[in-house]
Symmetry: C2
Subunit: 340 residues, 2 copies
C-alpha cells in the first residue's frame, strides 16, 4: 500500500530553475552591491577584483539563503558559488570565482565541512595555485550535535560560517595579509560552536515533498542544515527546556573562559517566525547568565537556513577585542549591513 | 464525528506568555537601541524622549514581527505598542507610549486600518490632546486586494506601513515639524499599494492550530495579514503567473506616472524562504518593465509577517526625490539598519 505524501507548495516556476531565477532576483534587487555571472553561476562583488585586497569566496549548495550570496559585498565576501539546492558547487565554478576576485593578494576559500564541498574546494584550490593564485582554505566545523553525519566526516559546518565571513571579511577590508585573514578566520571557527533543532522537515523544490518524516508532536534535536539526523528524535518540549539543553551542549564543548564575552547568534531555519526567535534569545540569555558569560553582541534572524524548515540554531562565538572590532566594522551586503 | 486537526509546533513556553517573552528577548538582544517598558508593554527608543523632535509611534497586534517593535530606533519609530497576538493594543498603552516619547514637538500615530487599532488609537489621541500633547494620526490602507474585510472597513493597512515608518521617521529625524512629518507620511500611504498571497495558514500560539483551512494544492489570492480572506481561493500556479496578477492589481490601482521610479518591496509572510522571495523579485522586475516603471530602490525579506504563514506580499511605492532621500537616510533599528 502506498501512502500519499502531500506536496509542499512553493512560490516557484520550474523546480530546475529555482536557483538561477532566484539569482536573477538577487542581482536585480542589489545592482549597487553585486553582479551575477550566470555562465559560471557566481555572485560577485560589484567592484571585484579589489586590487591589493585579500579576496574571500565561499559556496555550497543553495537552499541556505541568505548564505552565501546574500553576504557578498564590501566588508564580507568577494564572491559566492551557489550550487543547486543542497548540492555542492563544482570545482570549475570555484576556480572561476577565485580568478574573478583575486586582486593579487590571494584568496581565502571558506568551506563548510560537507564532503562534497571539501573535495571540490580542494580541487579548485589546487587548480588556482597552478594558475599562480595563492589560496588559503578555511574549514568550518562548528556543529557540536554529532560527529560524522549523512554528508560529513567529523562535525558539520553551520552557523559560525556567517560570523566567520563577516569577521574575516573585515580583516581583509582592513588590509590584512592572506596569512592574517586566514588566521582570524580559523580563530572564529575555533571559538565558535553551534547546535540546531528542527520542528518540521524542509522540502526541496525538486522533490516537492518533505525530506524526512517527523511526527506532529516531534522535534529533531541536533538537526543538520539539510535535515541530517541529529542526536535524537523526541517529543517537543517548552522552549526553555530545549534552549537549556542546546546551550549546555554548546557551552560544555566550547568551555569559554569565566566571564567571557560572546556573540550570541539565534538563527531561524527558514520557517520559524521572528517572534519565536526573540523568545529563544530570551531563554538563551538566562542560560548564558548561568554560565557567567555575557552576550556583548547579538544576531537574531534567518541567516543560514534550510529552505522552509521550522526550527532554530544557536551559535555562540567567544569574542576577544579584535574579533569584536572586526564584527563591528562596516559591512554592506544584501543581508548584513551597518556603518555604510 | 470530530475531525482531528494537527497542532502546529512552536518554539514557545506557555502560549499566553509568548508576546512578553519575545519582548524580553528583543530588549536583551538590542540594549543599545531599545528599552522595554513591561508595565505598559511598550518598546521604547533607548534615548526617548528626544527633545524637540517629532516622535512617531505605531502599534497593533503582535505576530507581524519585526513590525513594529523591530523598527524602533534612530531614524524610525520612537515607540511601538504591541498587543497580544493579532489583538489591538489598548488606548492606555498607546497613551503611555505617546507620553513617554513626546519631546515637545508632537507625536505621530501610525495606524494600520483595522477597526480595533483605529478606534483605540483615536481614543488615545484624544486623551493625549487632553494632556496637552499634539497628535497627528496617519492611517495606512494600502492593500488593494479587497474593500472591507473581517476586521476592517475599507482597505487593510499592510506593507506600506513599513516604508512609511522609515520615511516619516527620517523626516522627523531631519527636524520636520509635526505637520511636515504627517504630510510626508500621508504621501507614502497615497503613493503605495500592496497585495498578498498565502500558501498556508498561520497558527496563533493560543489556538495552536491553523487559523483557516486550505487545500494542499491551493492558495489564498489577496490574503490579509491575519489570514483574512482575499479575492478568491484557487489552485496554486507558477510564480510568474501569480506575480503578474499581483503586479497588475497593484499597478492598475496605483496608476504610476509613465517612467516612474518605485521602491519594490517583496515581503515574506513568515514561513517562506528567502530563495523564493528573490525569485518573486525577479518576476516582479519583469512586470515593472512591462509597465515602464523602474525599481530604483528595493527591500526583500520578512518585515511584516503573519506568524508562520507561507506566502508573500508585494508593495510598490512611487518615489519622488524627497521620498527617495528620506528612504536613504541613516536608520538604526533591530530590523532595518544602514548608514549608522
Amino acid at each position: 500500500m502506498s501512502v500519499a505524501v502531500a506536496s509542499v507548495k512553493k512560490l516557484i516556476n520550474e523546480p530546475a530553475d529555482v536557483v538561477k531565477e532566484s539569482l536573477v532576483g538577487l542581482g536585480l534587487a542589489h545592482p549597487d552591491l553585486v553582479r551575477i555571472d550566470f555562465e559560471n553561476q557566481l555572485v560577485l562583488r560589484k567592484d571585484a577584483p579589489v586590487s591589493g585586497k585579500v579576496a574571500l569566496i565561499s559556496g555550497g549548495g543553495s537552499g541556505h539563503e541568505p548564505l552565501h550570496g546574500g553576504f557578498v559585498g564590501a566588508g564580507m565576501l568577494d564572491a559566492a558559488c551557489p550550487g543547486e539546492v543542497f548540492t555542492s558547487p563544482v570545482p570549475d565554478q570555484m576556480l572561476a570565482a577565485t580568478k574573478a576576485v583575486d586582486g593579487g593578494a590571494g584568496v581565502i576559500h571558506i568551506v563548510k565541512n560537507y564532503t562534497g564541498d571539501v573535495m571540490n574546494f580542494k580541487l579548485a584550490a589546487e587548480m588556482a595555485e597552478d594558475d599562480g593564485i595563492s589560496v588559503e582554505s578555511v574549514l568550518t566545523n562548528d556543529d557540536v550535535a554529532v560527529e560524522d553525519s549523512t554528508w560529513t566526516a567529523g562535525r558539520r559546518g553551520t552557523g559560525v560560517t556567517v560570523l566567520l565571513e563577516k569577521i574575516a571579511g573585515a580583516k581583509a577590508e582592513a588590509g590584512g595579509s592572506l596569512a592574517e585573514v586566514a588566521a582570524v578566520a580559523r580563530r572564529v571557527n575555533e571559538k565558535g560552536r553551534s547546535f540546531g533543532v528542527a520542528l518540521t522537515s524542509c522540502a526541496t523544490p525538486a522533490a516537492g515533498t518533505p525530506t524526512f518524516d517527523i511526527g506532529a508532536d516531534e522535534m529533531e534535536f541536533g538537526v543538520g542544515i539539510h535535515g541530517e539526523p541529529g542526536r535524537r528524535r523526541e517529543k517537543i518540549r517548552p522552549a526553555a527546556e530545549i534552549v537549556e539543553e542546546m546551550a549546555d551542549a554548546i557551552l560544555g564543548d566550547l568551555q569559554p573562559a569565566k566571564g567571557a564575552n560572546v556573540l550570541a547568534f539565534v538563527n531561524g531555519l527558514g520557517g520559524t517566525p521572528l517572534i519565536e526567535l526573540y523568545l529563544v534569545y530570551a531563554e538563551l540569555a538566562k542560560q548564558l547568565e548561568k554560565y557567567g558569560v555575557t552576550a556583548t553582541r547579538s544576531l537574531v534572524g534567518d541567516y543560514i537556513t534550510s529552505l522552509d524548515m521550522a526550527g532554530v540554531s544557536i551559535t555562540l562565538l567567544e569574542l576577544d577585542d579584535e574579533l569584536t572590532a572586526l564584527w563591528d566594522a562596516p559591512v554592506h551586503t544584501p543581508a548584513l549591513r551597518w556603518g555604510i
